[in-house]
């Protein structure tokens, strides 16, 4: 065995050891690596009452109520993930991307009445990039309601040429 061959084997052995150590460590820590908990996670591993954590999911269609309390904008909405949903209250200005059907990540704590009081709301953008006229065309033709869920499969719209209306 030449010196080069031996160095190559030592390197491969070290790589194998390091790789498996990293994999095991990531598996062990995977619970604390999540950025937010989904509403259906709360049933399985609810944080202690009053403890601050992040709750993430989609803003449910038709659940947003905006009002003004003591001169500050207040919003109530339900955050759901298809299996469960939680009522969230938030006092403050919502980000521009906030809308029904949009993913959001909220920071706050569960209240005794079972609602989630958020001190911060972040909008989560999804992986779709669509011009306005394509989105309008999909909405008009009834193929997509942004408040109800994600857009249709990309292949149906990513090369679409929407008709110019009105100029």
């Amino acid at each position: 065995m030449t010196r080069k061959r031996r160095r190559l084997w030592i390197l491969l052995a070290c790589g194998l050891g390091l790789g498996s150590a990293a994999t095991l460590a990531l598996f062990a820590f995977s619970d604390s690596l999540v950025f937010f908990l989904a509403p259906s996670d709360l049933a399985a591993k609810a944080p202690a009452p009053g403890r601050t954590f992040r709750l993430g999911g989609l803003v449910e269609q038709g659940s947003v109520q905006r009002s003004t309390e003591k001169g500050r904008p207040t919003a109530k909405f339900r955050v759901g993930d298809g299996a469960a949903s939680v009522e969230v209250t938030y006092v403050g200005i919502l980000p521009d991307l906030f809308r029904e059907g949009q993913g959001v990540v909220t920071l706050g704590a569960m209240q005794p009445d079972g609602t989630f009081r958020a001190s911060e709301v972040l909008a989560k953008h999804d992986e779709t990039y669509m011009p306005k006229d394509v989105a309008d065309a999909l909405k008009k033709s009834g193929h997509w309601n942004p408040a109800a869920g994600p857009p249709p499969p990309a292949a149906t719209w990513n090369t679409m040429e929407p008709k110019k209306t009105g100029g």
Partner: protein, 261 residues
């Protein structure tokens, strides 16, 4: 002794690394890169300019993000090159540790600052996009944190390879650090699939149609290709300079020895 063989590696006999040493000959590298470099730099600059002008001024705005989507044409190629550059650094490190390529040592030293600059650009533009879109400059989710770790790995490599009086020891230590850091590359790539993150998952995947309108995809691809060629051109130019510096040092040493003898 002609100048081009001054820093050539010693003849390696009949070992399996011999064919690879053909490309590690610094004289051959200087001749080849001298021809390729102007074309590489010009094509890279032209494609980057085409992709960025197309993306920043002519591509359609996103229906939700509006014009803020245009940051993508700067941010996404920088992010790809940050990871791809680190992969290049890791390949140079294997060549350096196993086959002791003199050229791989120099290339690894030169990739570090370029990769760090692209990673910084990625972090900076991401932050500028995050504030209006997410509502936060920075969050500690798995994607953002792993890219920040990549930035620190680049900085650590830059510092370590220059920390020794004996450059050979710097090359070895830097190569070991770079290879340990390779663990981070799959974490960056798959962080958005393995864990809940605020950062969106990949738009362009091997398995499905890209969830991006073609009018936005083309300028992104041109920009990414341009960034790649520019990255390669900068590293090649820096490596050429490093080879010439080393050659000058060797010639000065030889002259000093001759006058002493």
């Amino acid at each position: 002794m002609d100048a081009s063989s001054v820093v050539a590696p010693p003849p390696s006999g009949r070992n399996p690394g011999r064919s690879l040493h053909r490309f590690a000959n610094p004289g051959r590298f200087l001749r080849l890169s001298g021809v390729v470099l102007p074309w590489l730099a010009a094509t890279g600059a032209a494609l980057t300019a085409l992709g960025l002008i197309w993306g920043l001024f002519y591509a359609p705005a996103d229906w939700q993000q509006g014009d803020a989507v245009r940051i993508m044409y700067v941010h996404v190629p920088a992010a790809w090159l940050a990871s791809a550059g680190y992969l290049g650094l890791a390949i140079c490190s294997v060549l350096s540790l196993v086959w002791r390529h003199p050229l791989a040592d120099l290339a690894a030293v030169e990739i570090g600052p370029v990769g760090a600059a692209f990673t910084a650009l990625c972090l900076l533009t991401g932050s500028i996009w995050g504030k209006p879109m997410w509502g936060a400059w920075w969050v500690w989710d798995a994607r953002l944190t792993s890219v920040l770790v990549l930035f620190f790995l680049y900085l650590g490599h830059i510092a370590l390879v220059r920390a020794f009086d004996n450059p050979e020891r710097g090359y070895r230590s830097g190569a070991i650090l770079a290879l340990i850091g390779v663990v981070n590359l799959p974490i960056i790539k798959f962080s958005v699939d393995w864990w809940n993150t605020l950062h969106q998952p990949d738009t362009i995947t091997l398995t499905g149609a890209p969830t991006m309108y073609v009018g936005m995809l083309w300028p992104l691809l041109f920009s990414a290709l341009g960034y790649t060629l520019v990255f390669a051109a900068i590293v090649a130019a820096r490596t050429r300079a490093a080879v010439m510096e080393r050659r000058i040092r060797t010639l000065l040493m030889m002259r000093a020895e001759e006058t002493a003898a």
